[in-house]
């Protein structure tokens, strides 16, 4: 029998990840020794009160920021070993990110925004895949438009498509529906759900909203920088019940 290889189906992992802002008396422990694994092909929602460290976790996992202690791995790559430049290249090639707002470069058209990471890498990408992603956005007729000519929901769909287009190992989305109305939010969430189900993508999303979180396969609850609870196959009702428990 050979030595057991570590599970390779983790798209991203945090191991005792700790993030401390500031120092001394004013130090804030935004992440407190978090251990979490995001499996490939899973859609995970992160929930928690404001200031619980959700965004910090997203940023550290996506290579936008570095943890103070512990490890963050994308696939088998330990981010703490990467230089600033390699971290940038990792973001470009292996990670997708969707912000709450301002996801698109205003001077580029929708399709140019979608292709941005690949253009930055100077690669053509997988064109069948890109076609599939673009097709899934339902924006085929608006691709030549600039962000200012798209609605908020359309912009966020383009942003998700941009995150998907490079076939990253994992996509992080920090309140991607926080800035849009309910119907539009449902559109975007449907699109993400679809990307996981049909395209086999891995998505980690922060949200405040129980209905939004119910699109995910799993919900992770964060309080004061620590994971306090988890829920598989969530429904809005179950999520609310958990939240009430935690909020108390």
């Amino acid at each position: 029998m050979s030595v057991a290889a570590p599970p390779t189906h983790a798209a991203a992992r945090a191991v005792a990840a700790t993030k401390i802002y500031g120092s001394g008396d004013t130090a804030v422990r935004a992440l407190d020794a978090i251990d979490v694994t995001f499996e490939q092909g899973q859609f995970t929602a992160i929930m928690g009160p404001s200031g619980s460290g959700k965004s910090t976790l997203m940023h550290c996992m996506a290579g936008l920021d570095r943890v103070t202690e512990g490890q963050v791995l994308i696939g088998e790559t330990d981010l703490s070993t990467l230089s600033e430049r390699d971290l940038t290249l990792l973001r470009r090639d292996n990670v997708g990110f969707v912000f709450q707002a301002f996801n698109l470069v205003p001077t580029l058209t929708a399709i140019e925004n979608i292709m941005l990471p690949m253009d930055l890498a100077g690669t053509a990408g997988d064109s069948d895949w890109v076609d599939e992603v673009v097709g899934a956005t339902g924006l085929a007729d608006r691709l030549k438009h600039r962000p200012s000519e798209l609605s908020g929901g359309q912009q966020q769909r383009v942003a998700v498509a941009r995150a998907l287009a490079g076939k990253p190992q994992v996509i992080f989305a920090d309140e991607p529906t926080g800035n849009v109305d309910l119907n539009t939010g449902a559109e975007i969430l449907g699109f993400m759900r679809n990307a996981v189900d049909e395209m086999g993508q891995t998505i980690v999303m922060v949200t405040h909203d129980a209905v939004s979180a119910s699109y995910a396969d799993r919900v992770v609850f964060l309080v004061d920088g620590q994971i306090v609870d988890e829920l598989a196959d969530p429904t809005p009702e179950r999520i609310r019940a958990h939240m009430n428990q935690l909020g108390a």
Partner: protein, 860 residues
């Protein structure tokens, strides 16, 4: 509102420091101009006083017309000294000689030269306070074989002179050998010669070797103590013959300072013109900075309006802000300007023009100007942004979005106002170039106003085309650097108003540089063509000193059997053609004297009417067809010439020519001119060689020229090259000054780009988040700047090209008759502009690439 203005300034320290620096440079320029000119004035005034100490009157030949600075006055008879000395009340009267172009040659065979001040021969007087020469070393020279030299040259390590040594001196009567007996200082206590070089002889020797036997060029007179200066002047006048005048020391001093003002004035004006160009360019930068900063402060300003600030209060707060910047910049500019003046002075001294010692006088006038232009230009520049700010509505801040700038209207209002300005600007420019003016000042003012208005018009119109032109110019970028290039191009084109405002500074600088280079190039080509077609001579002998070449040079060349030398002497003449025509006038012009019978050998003046055959040297006159037309002169017409000596001659038009090169419109024979000339120098000598081998010919002329170390021998090619190279020196100097305008443009790009980067912080964060490397980021910003610069440069080159060609067309054909466009140079300008953009972007690009990704994203 004052407090608000100051608060806002403090909040935006860096960008305003950058903005203010452009005004600082402009003010410094103004201050340096005034201080340098004032320093020269006070230095020369002091000098005039020193020179005239101990002398109450100067008696000299009177110029029949013209200014003493333009021509050499005739000499006066030596006997006059005794007549004047005999006048009751005169203590002492002594005759002096002062002749420019007397060149000593040192022990190493090197001719002593200057960059302009005279190299003169003179006589020493026993009365040192009358002559102002004080013996410092050795003894005074006595007799025909001795001389003394001024102490500065004697002590100059660059020259080899020793007491007792024998040295050659090139005099108007030819080269001679003298023994050095002493060294004297001019003026007391300082050596006040302002860089002039003197060879001193005793009076009889001076008269002989300087070519004034029995004459003096000047008689210095001192009155007895307590004499009435005005009354004694009339009594001296009474003993003077016609054509001789007596002036008081006060008159001399005034005349001297008028004379020095003829170069200090233009010098000051030229510096001020450059100063105003710099300030004008700065205005665009400042206006742009205010626009951007106020655009970023829309929320703050609308909040102010919402809580009750009136539009007037908002406007006032902006204007207060700009006034404070103006004052701070003026003070800093004063300091920098003083340093600049110091720099200019040492630069001049390093170039060999020993300016009189003197402090750097900072007058009230200079300070007032500094503050006036510093505050004036800044406030003027902020006027439009201030009005715009006051129109911000109280609810503007509630509607979030891009800055107001990006939604700028580019409508027909802009087109109409820009169009009107452009027409006014071009009409004024055209008027300035082609119109009739009495005097250069109104003409240049019209031209300057026209150009300034045209530039403003261009800046108003530019946003209408900026987007498409920049996109077009920057298109190649995305082929070279797919994504950075595409983003750079898009960023450069995204805000046409800002792009235009940033580029316009470069446009102005480059338009001026382009114009100057087109005029310069056309001048060179016209000169070269003319030299090729009109000059047949094999060699040209010229000289760097003011005085010219002794006429003996051309006879020496002839005597050596080398070929046909023709000396050209240019001098002032008064021409009265009233005998020939009713409408004729009296004009003063430059006269050329040359041996007409030999003229054909060296030049082709292009005779169109009449002939040079059988030309009578005593009565013949050749005129250019232009003056024939202007004065209504035809072949056979008689013309009265009055020379600076006061002599008059009547001559007859025997030929009309239409060629023009270095000779003037009126030509007479040197045989006639010799009888009336006040100096014995040619300005240039052309030689047609009879020796076939050019090397042998050159060697033969060189042999003759050993006696004239100040002379420079060149063949046609070399002559053309050296004229071109002196023209190039002027062009380089002009471009160095215009370089300051480009420096301002550079600062403008840095400041706008820094602000733009700051404004686009979220976008930059986003790009970094999705994987743009720092390098790609820097490249994107650098090439954005390059694209904006290229746009400014292209507009500038086009505009400058048009100005240049119009200027060439306006310059008379006898100076420039060919338009030549230095294409390679213009392309170089464009390349340099791109480089400028790249350099200007270094700092903003660095800042952008170092921006923390999360901070950028978090920015609200």
């Amino acid at each position: 509102m004052l407090r608000l203005g100051i608060k806002s300034l403090l909040a935006h320290k860096v960008r305003f420091a950058l903005t203010a620096s452009t005004i600082v440079i402009g003010v410094a320029f103004v201050v340096a101009s005034f201080v340098t000119a004032d320093s020269l004035r006070s230095g020369f005034d002091q000098l005039a006083e020193d020179i005239n100490t101990g002398t109450d009157y100067t008696v000299r030949g009177e110029l029949p017309f013209g200014e003493i600075t333009e021509a050499t006055a005739p000499a006066v008879p030596a006997e006059l000294v005794d007549d004047i000395a005999a006048v009751d009340g005169v203590e002492i009267a002594k005759g002096g000689l002062f002749v420019d172009g007397v060149i000593p040659v040192d022990g190493n065979g090197e001719a002593v030269t200057t960059f302009g001040p005279p190299v003169a021969g003179t006589n020493w007087l026993e009365d040192e306070s009358l002559s102002q020469f004080y013996l410092m070393e050795g003894r005074w020279p006595v007799g025909g074989g001795e001389f003394a030299i001024d102490i500065t040259t004697f002590e100059d390590d660059g020259y080899d002179f020793e007491l007792g040594g024998t040295y050659q001196i090139v005099t108007p009567t030819g080269p001679r050998e003298f023994t050095l007996t002493g060294a004297a200082q001019f003026g007391f206590p300082e050596n006040a010669g302002v860089g002039a070089i003197f060879s001193l002889f005793d009076t009889a020797t001076a008269q002989e070797v300087l070519g004034f036997p029995g004459e003096f060029t000047v008689i210095s007179v001192r009155a007895e103590a307590g004499a009435d200066i005005a009354e004694l002047q009339t009594r001296i006048e009474a003993v003077l013959p016609d054509g001789v005048e007596v002036i008081t020391a006060a008159d001399s001093e005034e005349e001297f300072s008028d004379a020095t003002e003829t170069f200090i004035g233009p010098f000051q004006t030229i510096l001020l013109v450059f100063a105003f160009i710099v300030l004008f360019v700065s205005m665009f930068i400042i206006s742009n900075t205010f626009n951007i900063v106020l655009g970023q402060r829309v929320r703050e300003l609308s909040l102010l309006r919402a809580v009750g600030a009136t539009p007037q209060q908002v406007r006032r707060s902006v204007l207060t802000e700009s006034a404070i910047i103006g004052i701070v910049a003026s003070v800093a500019g004063l300091g920098l300007g003083m340093l600049g003046a110091l720099g200019i002075k040492s630069l001049f001294n390093a170039l060999g023009a020993s300016l009189p010692e003197g402090s750097l006088p900072l007058t009230l006038r200079t300070v007032l100007w500094a503050v006036a232009v510093g505050v004036g230009f800044t406030v003027l520049a902020s006027l439009v942004p201030a009005i715009k700010a006051s129109r911000i509505s109280p609810v503007a801040g509630l509607s979030e979005g891009t800055t107001s700038e990006e939604r700028a209207s580019l409508g027909w209002k802009r087109l109409v106002s820009g169009g009107v300005l452009l027409v006014v600007g071009l009409v004024l420019t055209g008027l300035g170039l082609f119109g009739d003016f009495d005097g250069a000042t109104p003409q240049l003012s019209t031209l300057g106003a026209g150009a300034a208005i045209t530039f403003v018009a261009v800046s108003v119109l530019s946003p209408l085309v900026a987007r498409s032109v920049v996109s077009l110019l920057a298109r190649p970028l995305q082929w070279i650097m797919p994504i950075s290039g595409r983003l750079a191009r898009a960023n450069a084109a995204r805000n046409p108003r800002r792009t235009s405002a940033t580029a316009v500074a470069l446009t102005i600088g480059l338009a001026l540089v382009t114009m100057v280079s087109i005029v310069g190039q056309s001048l060179k080509v016209s000169f070269g063509d003319r030299l090729a077609s009109a000059v047949n001579a094999d060699f040209i002998v010229s000289v760097n000193t003011q005085a010219g070449l002794p006429k003996t040079l051309s006879s020496d060349i002839r005597a050596a059997g080398i070929g046909t030398p023709v000396g050209f002497d240019f001098d002032l003449v008064q021409i009265d053609s009233s005998g020939a025509d009713v409408q004729a006038t009296v004009v003063q012009s430059t006269l050329t004297a040359a041996s007409v019978s030999d003229l054909d050998a060296v030049v082709d003046i292009g005779v169109t009417e009449g002939t040079l055959d059988g030309f009578d040297p005593q009565t013949g006159l050749l005129i250019h067809s232009n003056v024939a037309g202007d004065e209504g002169l035809a072949l056979g017409d008689e013309v009265d010439l009055t020379f600076v000596s006061g002599d008059r001659r009547t001559v007859t038009v025997t030929a009309i020519f239409d060629g023009s090169a270095f000779w003037s419109n009126w030509i007479i024979d040197s045989a006639l001119y010799e009888q009336v000339a006040t100096t014995a120098f040619d300005d240039i000598v052309l030689v047609r060689s009879d020796i076939d081998d050019p090397e042998a010919a050159r060697a033969a002329i060189d042999e003759v020229m050993t006696g004239y170390p100040q002379a420079v021998l060149e063949d046609r090619q070399e002559f053309q090259e050296s004229v071109e190279s002196s023209l190039n020196t002027v062009l380089v100097l002009v471009n160095v000054f215009l370089g300051f305008a480009l420096l301002i443009a550079l600062i403008g790009i840095v400041s706008t780009l820094t602000l733009s980067v700051f404004e686009r912080i979220r976008e930059i964060g986003l790009l970094r988040a999705v994987g743009m490397t720092r390098r790609q980021m820097r490249r994107m910003i650098r090439w954005e700047a390059a694209a904006v610069s290229l746009y400014g440069a292209v507009v500038g080159v086009v505009l400058g090209g048009a100005f240049g060609m119009a200027t060439v067309a306006a310059i008379p054909d006898d100076i420039i008759d060919t338009v030549s466009i230095p294409a390679a140079q213009l392309v170089l300008f464009l390349v340099i502009s791109v480089a400028f953009g790249l350099i200007a972007a270094l700092f903003p690009a660095f800042r952008a690439s170092r921006m923390n990704v999360l901070d950028a994203i978090a920015d609200e």
